[in-house]
């Protein structure tokens, strides 16, 4: 396994400082952010108990060279998808503000992070609140060196991802061959009006445990509303949402489609087949069953050698090293998860 170079699907570079961001923002937001900082949706839970790994040098976490040393060089990365921080844009109600923020964030990372190491690749920030604005940002930056994906937020949207509202964004992603990277946005989850399907979570613990439920709902929405029939070349990564729930979702979608096909008559394949063709899941935080071999059984159920991609979530508290995956998977499957599947997903040679 030591010989496998790593393709890491989720690395969190920090938000720029207020001063750095103001430099890249257009007015009227430059003055606003310089004076007040970025807007925030406060969910009322204490996320700080998560945060970053405590063993890292907190003074250097704004330095891309530190990421190169502590992550890329240490584990043998050939690629790291920079997915950034989400709190300043996810779920924000004002689309003009979010469009300006996304443009500034993308320009900042392209100026200050991507040149540091060719292995850094950017997940573009777009305003899901404004599909037309999102498409403009994709058009502006698609094809730029080291731009590798478009970021969606699983947990802070008023409209589920299967809705036709998003069709212009999917069309742009497909046209530019840019995959979609769906990541949680824990701090902004309140934008949904409910932090879990049951209501408002009390704690970050509860919110974090319930995260997979958002992914189940978003994937069901995309598949059963025909997104992958309409956009057959669209590629989607469900990042940091867990893995073990996938067999349940696949089985339930297929079983109920057999009974209720007339409600999705545009589907030409079974729902699970669309997931296997168009969707990939990332490993972190990989589940920890009481018997380690049970994880292997789950992996077998979902065809992990095809559908799973490695993610570290560096530098966050629930970071997984590449060695976190069970060795019992065998060299071939490990290589596919740590490298090959993501190479195909991101079109790496």
């Amino acid at each position: 396994m030591s010989t496998i170079s790593i393709v890491d699907c989720d690395v969190h570079q920090p938000s720029p400082t207020r001063e750095q961001l103001a430099e890249y923002l257009d007015e009227p937001y430059r003055t606003e952010v310089a004076k007040h900082g970025t807007r925030r949706i406060a969910s009322g839970i204490r996320g700080e108990d998560g945060g970053n790994r405590r063993d890292l040098d907190a003074r250097r976490l704004r330095d891309p060279h530190y990421y190169r040393e502590a992550l890329l060089d240490r584990y043998g990365h050939r690629f790291a998808l920079l997915s950034g921080a989400t709190a300043s844009i996810a779920g924000m109600p004002d689309p003009d503000y979010v469009n300006a923020m996304c443009k500034a964030l993308n320009d900042f990372y392209m100026a200050h992070w991507l040149p540091v190491d060719p292995r850094f690749h950017l997940g573009l920030k777009i305003a899901l609140q404004d599909p037309a604005g999102a498409v403009r940002e994709i058009e502006r930056l698609a094809g730029a060196p080291q731009v590798a994906a478009v970021c969606f937020f699983a947990t802070a949207n008023r409209i589920p991802f299967g809705d036709r509202y998003y069709w212009p964004i999917y069309e742009a992603c497909e046209r530019h061959n840019l995959p979609i990277h769906i990541h949680p946005s824990t701090g902004s989850t309140l934008a949904n009006a409910a932090m879990t399907p049951a209501g408002h979570a009390t704690t970050y613990l509860e919110s974090h445990v319930c995260m997979p439920q958002f992914y189940m709902a978003q994937l069901a929405s995309m598949v059963l509303n025909g997104i992958f029939e309409k956009f057959p070349r669209l590629r989607v990564a469900a990042v940091e949402g867990g893995v073990a729930w996938l067999p349940h979702l696949l089985w339930r979608m297929d079983a109920e489609f057999k009974a209720l096909r007339q409600q999705a008559p545009f589907l030409k394949m079974m729902p699970s087949e669309y997931v296997k063709r168009n969707v990939r899941l990332t490993t972190q935080p990989v589940e920890e069953p009481p018997k380690p071999e049970q994880l292997g059984q789950i992996f077998d159920m979902i065809g992990a050698d095809q559908i799973l991609m490695y993610a570290s979530d560096f530098p966050h508290w629930d970071f997984d090293e590449p060695t976190r995956l069970p060795r019992s998977l065998g060299e071939t499957t490990l290589r596919r998860i740590l490298h090959d599947n993501a190479c195909e997903f991101f079109n790496l040679a």
């Binding site: 036709r164 309409k230 489609f257 057999k258 009974a259 096909r261 007339q262 008559p265 545009f266 030409k268």
Partner: protein, 117 residues
């Protein structure tokens, strides 16, 4: 394969279904919109007596957002237990799966309903 008379035609009215015992199971004959359909009364999914289900006319859409059409020429039989949907003519599922119901050629001759067994 040979034609077998099951029962008099007059016992099956338009919109109706009549069961006829065969071996350990039954054959159900439907008269729907003037045409006859014969199927084994057994769903391959969970063994339900499928002839107690509903006849439907399936909906087809080329792609999401496309114009929906209802096919009145190729009715389906929907199982009463879990609502799986099969083409009454050829027995195939409307979903891309392999299980299918068994269908029979059926005709009316000299006042009798006959199936090809």
């Amino acid at each position: 394969m040979a034609w077998h008379a099951l029962f008099p035609s007059c016992e099956l009215s338009e919109g109706g279904v009549k069961l006829h015992p065969t071996g350990k199971r039954e054959i159900g004959v439907f008269r729907h919109r003037g045409k006859l359909y014969a199927v084994l009364n057994f769903c391959p999914h969970a063994g339900a007596p499928i002839c107690g289900g509903e006849i439907d006319h399936p909906i087809f859409v080329d792609q999401p957002g496309g114009d929906a059409k209802r096919d009145f020429e190729n009715p389906t039989l929907r199982c009463p237990w879990h609502h799986w949907e099969f083409d009454l003519k050829n027995g195939k599922s409307l979903c891309p799966i392999s299980p299918r119901i068994k269908t029979y050629a059926v005709r009316e001759r000299e006042g009798q309903i006959e199936v090809d067994l």
